[in-house]
């Protein structure tokens, strides 16, 4: 056994009141003077800093074509209800007609899942809830499930969270608390609820497999070009999805400077090294909300629900808002541009 720091056997024992021995630190600290503060009114308060680290900025179209091959094994979509749903990503998947074998949703999916399902791009869904909260049921989800063209794996929220956390920890599965076996959600979905034996007590325990999405698509309000994320409201299960996924892309309202983004490191929701790319896209959650940036567009959601009530109406929605339109054109057709 080698002790590279030569401190013998006290390496980790700090409990005897002595200072724990320290490893020598071989980092050259490259001291640089603080940049001089800009004089008042002499330009932007935050000049673009010279950062040699590679930018993670991507354009929307290239991000989706690079990370969503048709037949993507599994996709997780963040946000919740009509809030922080990464709709620009979703619309681009629909434009590029990329098929998703398995869609994994947050505890409450809405328009993102419903659009992908309606466009015929999803084979199966793992979800605790798909709906529009007080606005009503999800029309395409409901139709596809009732027709049998969509395989629905309903899981409860806890199973989803523990599955994602297991995926993020490279655990093969997670043990579930007692009582879930009383629900038909567990009884009807044996692929996600399997009885096993607790090796410590010998009692029966339900277990659920780890969720390891091939890709997570999430929205955050701001980031720097390195992908340090600032969530300006609820994070829902976005952080768990990024942690569990093999790849993650994030759309943001604004890219801000590294200095601004990291001024309060405790406010950074996720460090940039987790991400493959960030896409700057203002209003990219529309018609869902982006916390603290804009409210959801209830009139647009109602228009969607009305049209999507029939397959023909849903096609009309796709033609009007998605197929024939880039993101800029999309926004120009909505209340954001027209008031």
């Amino acid at each position: 056994m080698s002790e590279p720091n030569g401190h013998g056997n006290g390496a980790s024992d700090g409990g005897n009141g002595d200072q724990p021995p320290r490893r020598p630190i071989n980092i050259e600290i490259n001291m640089q003077p603080y940049p001089a503060a800009p004089p008042p009114d002499s330009g932007p308060a935050e000049p673009e800093e010279a950062d040699e680290r590679p930018s993670k900025r991507l354009e929307l179209v290239e991000a989706i074509s690079a990370y969503v091959p048709s037949g993507l094994d599994s996709l997780a979509i963040g946000g919740m209800h009509m809030h922080n749903v990464p709709m620009a990503f979703v619309r681009e998947i629909v434009r590029q007609k990329r098929r998703i074998r398995r869609l994994i949703t947050s505890p409450a999916a809405s328009l993102g899942a419903d659009l992908l399902i309606g466009a015929g791009l999803v084979d199966e869904i793992v979800t605790p809830y798909v709906g529009f909260e007080y606005l009503g049921l999800a029309p395409c989800f409901r139709r596809a499930a009732q027709e049998g063209s969509l395989k629905v794996y309903e899981v409860d929220e806890l199973t989803l969270v523990l599955g994602l956390r297991a995926g993020g920890a490279n655990q093969p599965f997670a043990a579930l608390p007692p009582g879930l076996e009383l629900s038909d959600v567990a009884q009807a979905n044996p692929d996600f609820y399997r009885p096993s034996t607790d090796p410590f007590t010998g009692r029966e325990v339900l277990v659920t497999p780890a969720l390891r999405p091939q890709l997570a698509l999430v929205h955050a309000q701001q980031s720097d070009s390195l992908g340090n994320l600032l969530f300006k409201g609820s994070t829902f299960t976005d952080r768990e999805m990024i942690g569990a996924a093999r790849n993650a892309l994030v759309q943001v309202e604004q890219v801000i400077s590294n200095v601004q983004a990291t001024r309060n490191p405790l406010g950074v929701g996720m460090p940039g090294y987790y991400l493959k790319g960030i896409v700057e896209a203002p209003f990219s959650c529309h018609p869902t909300s982006s916390h603290r940036f804009y409210h959801y567009d209830e009139a647009h959601l109602k228009e969607y629900l009305q049209l999507a009530a029939t397959p023909a109406g849903f096609q009309e929605y796709l033609e009007k808002y998605i197929y024939a339109a880039s993101e800029t054109e999309y926004l120009s057709k909505t209340a954001i541009a027209t008031g």
């Binding site: 919740m80 209800h81 009509m82 809030h83 505890p107 409450a108 979800t127 605790p128 809830y129 798909v130 709906g131 909260e133 007080y134 049921l137 999800a138 989800f141 409901r142 499930a145 009732q146 049998g148 629905v152 309903e154 409860d156 929220e157 806890l158 969270v161 523990l162 994602l164 956390r165 608390p177 007692p178 009582g179 879930l180 076996e181 009383l182 629900s183 038909d184 959600v185 567990a186 009807a188 409201g233 609820s234 994070t235 829902f236 299960t237 952080r239 768990e240 909300s289 916390h291 603290r292 409210h295 959801y296």
Partner: protein, 271 residues
């Protein structure tokens, strides 16, 4: 101890309150000082009930606004979506994953839930009607409902009261209530599968219901003003346990209604 003030309404011609407002007030009265209450998707009525209870009789009550993770939101004003940014005007925000795991850990005393169907033993369905593989109606799904056996009690509020929503046996148990009755429920509880005491109350547009101690069958507690026993029986798909003399649900007091409307400035509960 709840302070009651002069009652208004319930008599005369037009009711001075909406049914949703009555449900909010009835729910508020059932909440206890010091407990921690969960609410879910779309349940503005449940959030309003929690805040009214805090303001009137339960200042030490804590509650969470659904998936936003907002603890003790001020609801100024009450908004329709549980995950709205407006709910974050509150005392603390719990990351959603932590909130969800804390439910399983028994940190919630009461959960206010809704459903597509409720049955005579308080089991709730929010998932599917008919065969799950080819359902007649695919509902949204249960969200947190399957894990609420760890909560001390659930209170069920139903926006519809008809033979389609009050059924003898739900076609799919999303939230387990008293299962197939008292005996089965006591057995499951003895086996450690259930930590709480199950459904405590059901509040519908027609009345208030609880569950008979031994059989755990649903029982009529009170009729909302203007509702008859016959109307409730006709709207219920199973036989209710009921006393011969059924009291009337006390209508909202002036102070209850004023407190509620102070929050509900957008008139969400009056549509």
């Amino acid at each position: 101890m709840r302070i009651t003030f002069e009652e208004i309404g319930g008599r005369g011609s037009g009711k001075p309150y909406d049914t949703q407002e009555l449900i909010a007030v009835v729910l508020a009265r059932t909440l206890r000082n010091g407990e921690m209450v969960g609410t879910g998707a779309g349940s503005a009525v449940a959030r309003a009930a929690c805040r009214v209870a805090q303001l009137l009789q339960a200042p030490a009550l804590n509650f969470v606004a659904g998936g936003s993770g907002a603890i003790n939101p001020f609801l100024e004003p009450l908004v329709p979506s549980s995950c709205d940014y407006a709910n974050l005007d509150c005392e603390a925000v719990l990351p959603l994953a932590d909130l969800i795991t804390s439910i399983a850990a028994g940190r919630l005393d009461t959960f206010l839930i809704g459903g597509l169907e409720v049955d005579q033993f308080g089991n709730v369905n929010l998932s599917v009607l008919g065969d799950p593989a080819r359902p007649k109606l695919r509902g949204p799904g249960g969200a947190a409902l399957p894990i609420l056996t760890s909560v001390e009690r659930t209170i069920i509020f139903m926006t519809d009261h008809s033979p389609r929503s009050f059924v003898p046996k739900v076609s799919f148990i999303t939230a387990p209530g008293f299962l197939t009755g008292g005996e089965a429920w006591r057995k499951a509880r003895a086996e450690g599968r259930i930590q709480g005491h199950g459904p405590h109350l059901v509040v519908s547009p027609l009345g208030v219901f609880d569950f008979e101690e031994e059989s755990k069958r649903m029982r009529l507690v009170s009729l909302h003003p203007g509702v008859t026993v016959e109307a409730v029986k006709a709207a219920t798909g199973f036989e209710l346990v009921g006393p011969d003399e059924v009291p009337i649900t006390p209508p909202p007091t002036q102070i209850e209604l004023a407190t509620l409307r102070e929050l509900d400035q957008q008139r969400i509960l009056r549509v």
